[in-house]
Amino acid sequence: MLGVLRGLAETLRTMARKPVTVQYPTVRREMPERERGYPLLLWDSEVGEPFCTGCHACERACPTECISVIMKDNPLAAEGTSKRRKIVDQFLLDYGRCIRCRICVETCNFSAIAMNNTWDGHEMSRYDRGDLVVNLDQLLAKSKEGGFTPWVSP
């Protein structure tokens, strides 16, 4: 009977300890800085345009082929305010297929895309699968109003 009593004593002792669960919607666990939510494009506020030049590097590197990019000549480059000759015209990212593996961030040589390390990078439930495909403006929105500081790997 000793083993059984030891088990009972164990549960009694655990009852005294503080519960570890957190009330999720009201209390949110603190997110580590390197958290990999769904990727977002970054907005270059000095020049007033996205960093992304539409060079298709991420499109080729993505294992699940969930990125479609279209490039165009940069109108700002003509006026001389921006060094970028090419700029992204349209950028489609299908969050339904994205597996958040961060390979696109690694291959991007303009560091134009970053993983969203805030909570709404994970709270992505939608009613319609089509809403999961986000276009350029939705991708830039958070970075435009400075919503998150992306983590850059050393």
Binding site: G3, V20, R34, R100, R102, M115
Partner: protein, 374 residues
């Protein structure tokens, strides 16, 4: 000639479907038990419900992208699977891995072994009937380690953190203190579950001499890992075929005597303590320095050749048979699944026991369906 009496007493064997949707099958696994009364007469496992063709997909992507398939086949010990994949490529391509990266890999792989065994302890106790208490204990401890993985890699499950040649970026600054704290905390956690289960008479009656496998049968079926060691064969790839830097650490190999369900439970619990020991030694010896070889090629190409790289996963020997014909895509990549081989012995273990034991034996095999079906 069956007498009148026999004909009356002859009972009808009914086929009971355990799974594919069943609380005790740890995923989509179906076992058709032919039961006469409570005794199991025949067990026919059905697998393949989670077959996603990882091997075929691996042939279509280059070496860096191929890593994500390892996380998704072995989704309880991802670091161990990634390590095997990267070691296969490094050995075939002759890529030199810097010291610090080797140490980070070993530390994360061993911590992942502990989380995987915690998952086993929780699920196994729930199979036996403990109403989720051991499960929540195991997950509380697992969460402390999971928090470190999340801080280092950024993800909680599909890490994709190792790369052929090293690791993709360095660990966080407070990594060492957190790992030291976790190792101490894990020992307390293991003792908690130990006190709750190991000497519990009801737990003993349910797991002693259930689902025994002799040493010779275990070898014949190709079992590996805790299943093989529980049957009495002291064989651990980390010590008998050392890969990476495992030969620098001093740890013990727990081996069972009878090869029953209780031995497997004990072997796994002891393995957790040994893994904590390895991590503590590795943390002390971890040097500074680069984490990727300087001249890491952007497009990794391997010379033609083939290699069978095997590592010691929590469930057994996880092997990658990589055939390369030059170029950046593997020509053929076979994933040797420890669980698949461990499952072949299921029928011999289950027949003759009760329905309740069949579920416990299945729990003791500790299967991960992603790895079985690939």
């Amino acid at each position: 000639m069956a007498t009148e009496l026999d004909r009356e007493l002859e009972t009808l064997d009914i086929n009971v479907n355990v799974g594919p949707q069943h609380p005790a099958t740890h995923g989509v696994f179906r076992m058709v038990l032919t039961v006469s009364g409570e005794k199991v007469v025949d067990a026919v496992p059905h697998i393949g419900y989670m077959h996603r063709g990882a091997e075929k997909l691996s042939e279509g992507v280059d070496y860096r992208q191929g890593l994500i398939f390892q996380d998704r086949t072995e989704y309880l010990a991802q670091f161990n699977a990634e390590m095997c994949y990267c070691q296969a490529i490094e050995r075939l391509g002759g890529i030199e891995v810097p010291e610090r990266a080797e140490y980070i890999r070993v530390i994360l792989a061993e911590l992942n072994r502990i989380t995987s065994h915690y998952m086993f302890a929780g699920a196994f106790a729930t199979d036996l009937g403990v109403y989720g208490t051991a499960f929540t204990y195991a997950f509380r401890e697992r969460e402390y380690i999971q928090a470190i993985f999340e801080a280092v890699t950024g993800d909680r499950m599909m890490y994709g953190y190792f790369r052929p040649g090293g690791v993709v970026w360095d660990v966080t600054d407070d990594f060492k203190d957190r790992v030291r704290w976790v190792c101490k905390q894990t020992r307390v956690g293991i003792d908690d579950i130990d006190r709750l289960l190991t000497k519990n008479e009801v737990f003993l009656t349910r797991s002693l001499d259930i689902g025994c496998i002799s040493k010779d049968d275990a070898i014949d079926y190709g079992l590996s890992g805790p299943m093989l060691r529980a049957s009495g064969l002291q064989f651990d790839l980390r010590r008998d075929e050392p890969y990476s830097i495992y030969d620098r650490f001093e740890f013990e190999i727990p081996t069972g005597t009878r090869g029953d369900v209780y031995d497997r439970y004990l072997v796994r619990m002891e393995e957790m303590r040994q893994s904590a020991r390895i991590v503590e030694q590795a943390i002390e010896q971890m040097p500074d320095g680069p984490i990727m070889p300087e001249k890491a090629p952007r497009r990794l190409r391997l010379p033609p050749g083939e290699i069978y790289m095997r590592t010691e996963n929590p469930r057994g020997e996880y092997g990658i048979y990589l055939v390369s014909k030059g170029g950046e895509k593997p020509y053929r990549l076979k994933i040797r699944s420890a669980c698949l081989s461990n499952l072949t012995a299921l029928k011999q273990m289950v027949v003759g026991h009760y329905v309740a034991d069949a579920v416990v034996i299945l729990g003791s095999v500790d299967i991960v369906l992603g790895e079985v079906d690939r």
